[in-house]
């Protein structure tokens, strides 16, 4: 099936993603920030679909939105204080932080202006195998070792999170 209205969807989804990002860093209420982050994550999943990566889009929705954001909302509900909602939102070093971010922005613009014609403009050909199958062949073939280490990392993270959040070890 031929792609339809690519430019409209690209600008729409990336506009949503950037809008969500701005809302994340400017809302006073952490629950509103979490909702804005959910908006950003869903928009980025849409961008993955536009890049012909449906498996990563599905994984993003299941893990990031359905798992990590639920975790964030849980913790926000557990540590939410009314007192903190009425305080200042920006910390003591905000000026230094903004200067650093401005320097980073300058660096990115320099990279963009120098290198924006480096990549081939024409679109790459669509893969013949189904995307899930390609990812699976690569993941369980070439990158099997990294896969096992990632599962070990998750085990360590589970044990670490349980130990740290317990009341008494």
């Amino acid at each position: 099936m031929a792609p339809v209205a690519t430019t409209f969807f690209f600008y729409f989804l990336s506009g949503l993603a950037v809008l969500g990002g701005i809302l994340v860093i400017t809302r006073k209420n952490p629950v509103h920030s979490a909702l804005a982050l959910i908006l950003t994550l869903l928009a980025v999943a849409g961008l993955y679909l536009m890049l012909y990566a449906p498996f990563v889009a599905g994984v993003q929705i299941i893990l990031y939105v359905g798992g990590i954001m639920v975790l964030f909302l849980f913790v926000i509900m557990l540590v939410n204080l009314d007192k903190s909602a009425k305080e200042d939102q920006f910390n003591k070093q905000w000026l230094v932080g903004m200067v650093a971010a401005a320097a980073l922005l300058g660096l990115f613009m320099a990279v963009y202006l120098k290198g924006k014609y480096l990549f081939p403009i024409q679109e790459a050909k669509l893969p013949e195998q189904s995307n899930v199958q390609e990812v699976a062949v690569s993941l369980y073939g070439n990158y099997m070792f990294a896969f096992e280490i990632a599962s070990l990392l998750l085990l360590v993270a589970i044990i670490g999170a349980v130990v740290m959040a317990k009341k008494r070890i």
Binding site: I25, T40, F90, K92, Q93, G97, F119, M164
Partner: protein, 101 residues
């Protein structure tokens, strides 16, 4: 309008990255700092998947690993936050300034 090329996706990823960096460096609430870190990781993922369109499927495999690591790091970071909150009753980064209390 011009057709959408890889550079367009890289620009969006750079914008998300800068927003995440601003959030990490300037916000006072620890939970929002952690959420800005998730924004940074998403920007990196978008970069990887945009490049995988040109250079093969390894970019998507790597982005799956990045998502896995982000989950692990969010869990551990929030565990630290809860342990800290139980002792000091605050979620302010300015008040996390003692090595031992």
């Amino acid at each position: 309008m011009a057709p959408i090329t890889t550079v367009h996706y890289l620009v969006v990823a750079a914008a998300l990255f800068i927003l995440g960096v601003i959030g990490v460096l300037t916000r006072r609430n620890v939970v929002i700092v952690l959420m800005s870190i998730e924004l940074i990781l998403n920007a990196v993922n978008l970069n990887l998947v945009a490049f995988s369109r040109l250079y093969g499927v390894q970019g998507q495999v790597f982005s799956i690993f990045v998502i896995t690591d982000a989950a692990a790091e969010a869990a551990v970071g929030l565990g630290i936050l809860i342990a800290f909150f139980r002792n000091k009753e605050t979620v302010n980064v300015d008040e996390v300034d003692l090595m031992k209390w």
